[in-house]
Amino acid sequence: MTVHQKTLIIACGALAREISLLIDLNRWHRFDVTCLPANLHNRPQLITGRMAEKITVAKQSGKYDQILAGYGDCGTGGDLDRLLDAEGVIRLPGAHCYEFFATTKPFDKMVDDEIGTFFLTDYLVRFFDTLIIKGLALDRHPELLPDYFGAYKRLMYLAQTEDEELDKMAEQAAIRLGLEYHKQFTGYGDLATFLETHSGGSG
């Protein structure tokens, strides 16, 4: 593998905390991180364009030998991958963050066990009110709950960390959405593997 001097990770804001933590823990100093707003997920058609802008700026800076995308497909319908392929940028494996935290096989099994599973990660638990309740206007229009969640049966909290407070918050989120609560500890899953693969060794 080519060892790059400096690598830029252009990540979703929903992964910023986890990526920064992994970089600090492993002293992967060759990584710089820049983020796009996590709330772009409510308008995925904007993700590819914003990513293109970030890539252009990074390439023009001349600072980076390699650029990674800390994203799944995230509802872009393959548009993001087409851009990244053309730009020579590698992205995380999987369609979305639930999948690469849980890793593909366990994730597929959870969906097979209950297709009506709504997933939360640490980030989504922390920002549940902002991204889910306010983002979907359920604070103003709680009567829309069945429109959004009528087909879901359970909420699965994919925990990156063991944190009692987050566990309680996730359970409250499930109650609020009228879903059965489940929790699965995943750690950082394929996110850690991906970064390690591209770290070129520590330091």
């Binding site: 995925p44 058609q45 497909d73 509802g75 319908g77 297709i115 206007a137 229009h141 829309l144 009528g150």
Partner: protein, 241 residues
Amino acid sequence: MTNTENDQVDIVLSDLNNDDLVEQMFDDLYDGLADAITEGTEILLNRGWLPYEVLTKSLVAGMAIVGKDFRDGILFVPEVLMAANAMKAGMAILRPLLAETGAPKMGKVVIGTVKGDIHDIGKNLVTMMMEGAGFEVIDIGINNPVENYLEAIEEHQPDIIGMSALLTTTMPYMKVVIDTLIEKGIRNDYIVLVGGAPLNETFAESVGADAYCRDAAMAVDMAKELMAHRQGSAAAQMAAS
């Protein structure tokens, strides 16, 4: 009765003339006021409007404004859902009356979300807008394997098959359904429309659909256009034979 947000002046819907009432219903639909839509619908019917007139001139025309503003990024999904629920309230009154009064039939649609996918907001909006436009819609729900589509096709003999998916991982299943129709030699018997957030025209073409529908309003336009084309072709064939 409806309450305008700015000046808090009560508007008595029954005091409005027909034109003003329809204009007010556009506003009420835009604001997602289901009770006001119910009241407005009943008033127009009591004034002797045909159910089909009420539907097209107030509800469908009002939803067209909502659809346009959604497309232009002025309204977002929650507002569209509120408007759709308001329209649903009007439709609940009109639906039985439309059947009785022989409203024009545009065609029959079988619609469902594909296997592996339980997202149905878009599908439900399309269903309602299609009904509003005079299509008979058979909604087969969510997470449909190809067998469900085939059963519904056999049972209902639709003109149009609509498939919806929200996930990048489930949208390829649309090709499975279309390929199965091809294998059975019945693909060209139906118009196939596809839609869902991660889709685009290129994808629709690659799986062999007739059209990609970016939103519910466009699905209706596309369905009407393709039905007209189909009927035109059939008429032309009959004339030639």
